[in-house]
C-alpha cells in the first residue's frame, strides 16, 4: 500500500521537474549576458565567424521556442545535453560532483541531529535551568551565525592553529581510494581501505560542523518547544499515573510524539543542505555540486544550470516524500 503510494508520488515528481526545467530554461535565456560572449571574453580576440560558429553549435542562433523544443526532445531521450564551457555531458559532470554534496549533507545532518537531540530533550525536561538557557542561547547563535564565517573560524582553530584536521578537500591525495559510489566514506568501507576512511572522515568533520550547526540549532529549538507542550499533555500525565519512570515518560511517550513536527523541519533542512551549501563548499574547497552550479551560472552555461536545478528539484521532492513516509509511521492518524 505504502509502496504503491511512494511510486505514485515519484511519478508525480516528473511533471514538477519538467516544469522547473522549463522555467529555468526560459529565465536563464532572459537574464542578460550571453554565454558565447563570456567564453570569447576569456579567450581574447576572436573573429566574428568563430562566434557565429559557436552560436550555431549551441543552437543559440535559433528562436527560443525551437531551442526549448530541442531541449525537451533531448530530455525525453534522457539526454541533459553538453555543458557549453566544459564540453562534457551535463549528466556526467553532475554525477561527478553530486556524491560529494550528498556526503557533506549527510555529514552535516548527522552532526546536527547528534547535537540537537540531547540538547532539545534535556532543555525541555529541565526547562528554565541553566542548561536550558545556555543551550537556547547557543542555538540562537547557531541560527544567526553565517556558516562561511563559522567555517573560517573552524579552519583557523582546528587546522591552522591545532593541526588536528585538514584545511580543505575531501581526502588526502595519497589515500589511494578506488571510487565505487563516489561517497568516499562508503567507498573506503566497501574497498576495505582503512586509511582512506580516516582521511575522508577527517576532511568531512569541519565542513559538516560548519553546515550542521545551523541544523542543530533549528532542530533543537523545534524539538524543545514541541516537547514542552507534550510534557504537559494528558497522556504524559497518564503515563506517570501508570507508574512509568521519568525516562520512559520522556523517551517513549513524549519524544515519540515530538518527532512529528521535528521530522518536518529536518526534512526541510535536508533540502537546504543539499541545495544551499555553495558557500561552505567554497570555503572548504569541497568539490560538490554547489560550486559547479555557481560557476555555471556565472558562465551562463545553460544546460549545466538546467540539469543541476532539475537535480535539486528532485532532491526536494524526494526529501518531502521521505518526510511523508516517516509521518505515516510516526503519526497513525495520517495516511499517505
Amino acid at each position: 500500500m505504502r509502496l504503491v503510494k511512494v511510486i505514485e508520488r515519484l511519478l508525480a515528481a516528473i511533471p514538477i521537474m519538467l516544469g522547473v526545467a522549463v522555467i529555468v530554461f526560459v529565465f536563464m535565456r532572459m537574464t542578460p549576458g550571453d554565454p558565447v560572449d563570456i567564453m570569447m571574453g576569456q579567450g581574447g580576440t576572436v573573429s566574428e565567424g568563430e562566434v557565429e560558429r559557436l552560436r550555431s553549435e549551441f543552437n543559440l542562433d535559433k528562436p527560443i521556442h525551437v531551442q526549448l523544443g530541442l531541449f525537451l526532445s533531448d530530455l525525453a531521450r534522457g539526454d541533459l545535453g553538453n555543458s557549453f564551457t566544459k564540453q562534457q555531458p551535463v549528466a556526467s559532470l553532475i554525477g561527478e560532483r553530486l556524491p560529494a554534496t550528498i556526503e557533506l549533507a549527510f555529514g552535516s545532518l548527522f552532526i546536527g541531529l547528534l547535537i540537537a537531540f540531547p540538547i532539545g530533550i534535556l532543555s525541555a525536561v529541565k526547562q528554565n535551568s541553566l542548561l536550558d538557557r545556555l543551550s537556547m542561547g547557543a542555538a540562537f547563535l547557531g541560527i544567526s551565525m553565517p556558516s562561511f564565517w563559522l567555517g573560517i573560524i573552524l579552519i583557523l582553530i582546528f587546522s591552522v592553529k591545532l593541526h588536528w584536521l585538514p584545511v580543505q578537500g575531501r581526502i588526502d591525495y595519497d589515500a589511494g581510494l578506488q571510487t565505487v559510489t563516489g561517497l568516499y566514506m562508503l567507498d573506503s568501507i566497501l574497498t576495505g581501505n582503512g586509511p582512506a576512511l580516516i582521511s575522508s572522515l577527517k576532511h568531512l568533520i569541519l565542513p559538516s560542523i560548519a553546515l550542521g550547526s545551523a541544523v542543530a540549532a533549528i532542530v533543537a529549538r523545534v524539538l524543545r518547544s514541541s516537547l514542552l507542550e507534550i510534557l504537559r499533555s494528558d497522556y504524559v500525565k497518564l503515563a506517570r499515573a501508570k507508574g512509568a519512570g521519568e525516562t520512559t515518560v520522556v523517551m517513549k511517550h513524549a519524544v515519540r510524539n515530538a518527532l512529528i513536527p521535528t521530522v518536518t523541519v529536518v526534512g526541510l533542512q535536508v533540502g537546504v543542505l543539499l541545495g544551499g551549501n555553495m558557500i561552505v563548499e567554497t570555503v572548504f574547497s569541497w568539490p560538490g555540486l554547489g560550486r559547479l552550479v555557481v560557476e555555471a551560472i556565472f558562465n551562463r552555461d545553460f544546460p549545466l544550470v538546467q540539469g543541476a536545478v532539475m537535480v535539486y528539484a528532485f532532491i526536494f521532492v524526494a526529501a518531502n516524500l521521505v518526510v511523508d513516509v516517516l509521518y505515516t509511521y510516526l503519526n497513525p492518524k495520517i495516511e499517505m
Binding site: S233, L238, A239, R240, A241
Partner: protein
C-alpha cells in the same frame, strides 16, 4: 495506627500549595478523607475547587512548582506522602490507579491501545514467570491478560482491537480503554477524575454501570471526582462536597442529599434539573472565589444567601451535622457551617 482495621486510604490534613505571582495558593487545604475497602466516595464541587488536585496529591503527581505542603496520605496505614520516586512508582498504577476526564487526549496517539494497556502490566512486572531468558512466554501472557481486561470493560472483539489506535475508537470505547489501563494491575483504589464528563449521556450511563460492576466484582474502592451531584448521589456511598479547597460537607450519601446542612450543598442540589418537574433551576449566585484572595472566615459567605457578619470571623471546623455524627466519627455527617450551631436552615422546596 498500623492495625488491621486501618482504612484502605486515608488523607490526613492534606494541604497542597501552588506558588503564584500573587502569593501561595492553597488549592487543597486541610482535607481529611477516609476510604474503606469496596467503598465509593464522591468528591463533588465546581471547577477549580481543588477536587482533581486531591487526586493528583494522592498519587504524588502535583506538577512543580506545586507541592503537598502538609498532611499525610496513608495507604493501608502506611504513609506514602514522602516515599522515594521509585517506591511511589510501584504504587501508581499498581495499588492506586487513575482514570482521567478526556479519554482521547489521555491515550497516547502514537501507540496501539492494546500496547498501552500492556504497558501497565509491564511496568509492574505483573506477568513474571521464570527469569529471563527462559521467559519467552511473558509477552503472550501479558497479551492474554490485556484481552481479558478489554473484554471485562466491554470492548467488543478485543483481539481485533488490540492493534487499533486511540483515534479509531469512539469516545465511549476510549474511556473503556482507559478504565482497562487502570484495571490491568487490579488496583485496590481507583481514582476517577470526571470519567463521564466528556461523554454522551447514554455512554455516561454505561461507564457508570461499568464502574459499579468493577466495584462489586473486585471490591475496588473508588473515589469519583465530579461536578455532578446527581451522578454522585446515584453512584456513591459517601459524598464529600468541596469548596475553595476545603471540604464543606461530608457524610453518607442519603443524609447529604436529603438533609444538606451546608448552604453550598443545598445550592448545588437546587441546580440539578429533574426530569418531569417544572421547577425552575436556581443557580448559585456569583463565582468561585479567587483562591489567592479568599474572604476571612467562611469562603462561601460571599455567595451565601443566609450569611451573617459573624461568618467572616474566625475559622470554622467541620461540625457534627447529625445526631450520631460524633459517635460515627469519619463515617458520620459533618458540615462546615456556623448555622449548624446557630440556627436551623430553611427547608428545601420540594
Amino acid at each position: 495506627m498500623n492495625d488491621t482495621h486501618a482504612p484502605l486510604l486515608e488523607l490526613r490534613n492534606l494541604t497542597t500549595m501552588f506558588p503564584t505571582r500573587r502569593g501561595e495558593v492553597r488549592a487543597v487545604e486541610a482535607v481529611n478523607l477516609t476510604l474503606r475497602k469496596g467503598q465509593i466516595l464522591g468528591l463533588v464541587g465546581e471547577s477549580g475547587c481543588g477536587k482533581s488536585t486531591v487526586l493528583l496529591s494522592i498519587l504524588g503527581l502535583i506538577a512543580k512548582p506545586g507541592r503537598v505542603d502538609k498532611g499525610q496520605v496513608l495507604l493501608e496505614g502506611r504513609d506514602i506522602t514522602h516515599l522515594s520516586g521509585g517506591e511511589m512508582r510501584r504504587i501508581r498504577g499498581r495499588e492506586i490507579a487513575m482514570i482521567f476526564q478526556d479519554p482521547l487526549s489521555t491515550l497516547n496517539p502514537a501507540f496501539h491501545v492494546g500496547e498501552q494497556i500492556r504497558e501497565s502490566l509491564r511496568l509492574h512486572h505483573m506477568m513474571l514467570g521464570p527469569p529471563w531468558p527462559l521467559d519467552r512466554a511473558k509477552k503472550a501472557r501479558e497479551k492474554k491478560r490485556v484481552i481479558e481486561v478489554m473484554q471485562e470493560v466491554g470492548i467488543p472483539a478485543p483481539e481485533a482491537r488490540y492493534k487499533a489506535y486511540p483515534h479509531q475508537f469512539s469516545g465511549g470505547m476510549q474511556q473503556r480503554a482507559l478504565i482497562a489501563i487502570g484495571l490491568a494491575c487490579q488496583p485496590k483504589v481507583l481514582l476517577a477524575d470526571e470519567p463521564t464528563t466528556a461523554l454522551d449521556v447514554t455512554i455516561q450511563a454505561q461507564i457508570v454501570a461499568l464502574m459499579r460492576r468493577i466495584n462489586q466484582e473486585h471490591h475496588t474502592a473508588i473515589i469519583l471526582v465530579t461536578h455532578d451531584l446527581g451522578l454522585a448521589a446515584e453512584f456513591c456511598d459517601h459524598i464529600a462536597v468541596m469548596y475553595a479547597g476545603r471540604i464543606v460537607e461530608i457524610g453518607p450519601t442519603d443524609q447529604v442529599i436529603e438533609e444538606p446542612r451546608h448552604p453550598y450543598t443545598a445550592g448545588l442540589l437546587r441546580c440539578i434539573p429533574h426530569v418531569g418537574e417544572r421547577r425552575a433551576i436556581e443557580p448559585i449566585p456569583g463565582n468561585v472565589p479567587d483562591l489567592a484572595d479568599l474572604p476571612p472566615g467562611c469562603a462561601f459567605s460571599l455567595r451565601c444567601d443566609s450569611a451573617r457578619p459573624v461568618c467572616n470571623e474566625g475559622f470554622f471546623r467541620l461540625q457534627p451535622a447529625s445526631a450520631d455524627a460524633v459517635k460515627r466519627g469519619e463515617g458520620g455527617h459533618w458540615a462546615r457551617c456556623l448555622r449548624l450551631t446557630d440556627y436551623q436552615m430553611p427547608a428545601l422546596e420540594d
